[in-house]
Amino acid sequence: MSGYDDWLRLDKLPHIWCPGCGDGIVLKAILRAVGRMGWTPGQVCMVSGIGCSSRTPGYVDVNTLHTTHGRALTFATGVKMARPDLQVIVVTGDGDATAIGGNHFIHAARRNIDLTVILYNNWIYGMTGGQASPATPAGRRASTAPFGMIEPSFDIAALAAAAGATFVARETVAKPFVLDKLIERALRKKGFSLVEAMTPCPTAFGRRNHQADAVEMVEYLRIHSTSKERAATLPEEERREAITTGVFVDIDRPEFCGEYAKLVERLREPVTA
């Protein structure tokens, strides 16, 4: 199975996402990457939390699990530790993963369990109607930040890196083919991998921030993103404004399923005098 449409539950289409939503672009990038892995659908398990991004598994013809808000990584940890041979992909959003699920996010990264997390960052709670998330940029408006967000936002990729993730990357949906190559690298990585996919939400975010045009929003992401290498050469102020992209972490460190298997193996060794 290599074509992305082979992995879709075509009978579940059309999808529920709003016109102009970027989530379908991320889904397509995931499926192109998965299609190159040589896996069968039965080998793959896709787990999500709650929100727009988290409806993704409903459209993917693998073992799929739509869990409670923020808790996708906890269910995924159970699936992966019960069946380490399954390829477990977690699909989540900025609010799901870094607000209500923030603790699970950092601990799954610390544990370095072999999960691939695709985090759709659209700077907003889309499904619940446009409330501020921990990723809403300062100054931008949301239904619960009508006068502009006064809290600073998380740098989600940096958060994952600091917590111990062994692969961390970020890209926007303006470059979908770069995105799918990063997702493929994340899928191939044995350990906790995060790909932060910057995706537009014209309906809930754009509408409140004078960016309701979907094409304009994708164009905004394209113009404001810059490779981390180029960002390093920018003056401080410009660098802060930029959406940096690329691979931030690609390291090797003991992976949790493997470490647990070693423990079991060690305990099974006969005791010698």
């Binding site: 039965g42 699990l65 409670t68 808790r71 019960a82 699970h104």
Partner: protein, 370 residues
């Protein structure tokens, strides 16, 4: 010789537990500690998760991947697990949740006994849902009921709650382990992968269950209202059918699940209804009352839910009163009163100071009611 917590861990292993996830909390922690030692030696998985919610999520995920799973906690942790317990009800995931009760509300009394989670065990999560809750009163019975919790969970495809209390969890008693136990494992899929319906409305209400990634089966699981295929639905008929099937699959088995122990009830004029640690004091009080010539009897439920309504009504039909001593402010007394529907008065006796109810206190209530 072992404690209730140790017997719980032992019973779980005997019933086929291969996956435990938990978060430390007194007075349940020894269950996790014993399993941390024993599960990896058997090739099973022990996980100490970052919090109670994570532990509940992990056992649900592992159960979907085909494992028999358990978590153990206490009052505050049980509160945190409630949303995911609801998910397990809705998505029909077998798993066992042990709650070693401590005094509450809030942080309450971490090292002192209480029975304040009786209603939380029934109604802690939102929405209408079935509940099976077992409450042992000895170390040996903790072993037996832990095994039963797994068996009921697998047979009914639902979470089962084992409600201990601090005294039963920590008392050390002699236990003769049964030479053999019956072990139930969930029914496997009854159709090939392309025709398998993970939420089929079977006549007995329990859909056969596949495991993720086993034999080519793959399916969708969600906490949203769903149809027989497992996908979300907004069709009122489908939603209604789902909710009613979930309730009915336990209701129709209620008589078979309900488990009560009767002592001296045949001619009892004063019935004591007691469970868990309090039932031990109650039994002593009933014996002392009999020695004084008072026709007292004990009705001891080992399943709190489904509530043993018929047994309560039968015992209360010819009684002068039903005394309900419990270590909360009358959570079960209300349920007993409802079951009796005025057949006889209910005398609640509450102790919520962190100390055990004494036989003499129950005896005084029996004397007053006789």
């Amino acid at each position: 010789m072992m404690t209730g917590n140790e017997a719980c861990a032992d019973g779980a292993l005997a019933a086929g537990l291969t996956f435990f996830a938990g978060y430390p909390i007194t007075p349940s922690s020894e269950i996790a500690e014993v399993l941390a030692e024993r599960l990896p030696r058997r090739g099973g998985v022990f996980l100490q998760m970052e919090d109670e919610i994570a532990a509940m999520g992990a056992i649900i995920g592992a159960s979907l991947a085909g494992r028999k799973t358990m978590t153990a906690t206490s009052g505050p942790g049980f509160s945190l697990k409630q949303e995911n317990i609801g998910f397990a009800c809705m998505a029909e995931i077998p798993c066992v949740v042990v709650n070693v009760q401590r005094g509450g509300p809030s942080t309450g009394l971490p090292t002192m006994p209480a029975q304040g989670d009786v209603m939380q065990a029934r109604w802690g999560t939102h929405g209408d849902h079935p509940a099976i809750v077992l409450a042992p009163n000895s170390v040996a019975e903790t072993y037996d009921l832990t095994v039963r919790a797994f068996n009921l969970s697998e047979a009914c495809r639902t979470p089962v709650i084992l409600l201990l209390d601090e005294i039963i969890a920590h008392v050390t008693e002699k236990v003769a382990l049964p030479p053999r136990i019956d072990v139930v494992t969930r029914a496997g899929p009854d159709a090939p992968p392309d025709r398998f319906l993970p939420y089929r409305h079977t006549p007995d209400g329990v859909p056969p269950m596949a495991a993720y990634g086993v034999d080519g089966y793959r399916f969708h699981v969600t906490g949203l209202a769903h149809d027989e295929t497992g996908f979300p639905t907004n069709d009122p008929r489908e939603i209604d059918a789902l909710n009613r099937r979930l309730a009915a699959k336990i209701d129709r088995r209620a008589a078979e699940i309900t488990d009560v122990v009767r002592e001296s009830l045949d001619d009892a004029e004063v019935v004591v209804f007691a469970y868990g640690c309090v039932s031990r004091a109650a039994r002593q009080a009933v014996r002392e009352a009999r020695a004084e010539g008072i026709a007292a009897g004990l009705l001891r439920p080992r399943t709190l839910w489904p509530f043993p309504e018929a047994a309560v009504r039968a015992a209360g039909a010819r009684a002068k009163a039903v005394v309900v001593p419990e270590m909360n402010l009358g959570q079960m007394a209300h349920e007993v009163e409802w079951a009796l529907r005025g057949a006889c008065p209910v005398v609640p006796f509450a102790r919520v100071d962190g100390l055990a109810i004494r036989p003499s206190q129950i005896l005084a209530e029996i004397r007053a009611a006789a």
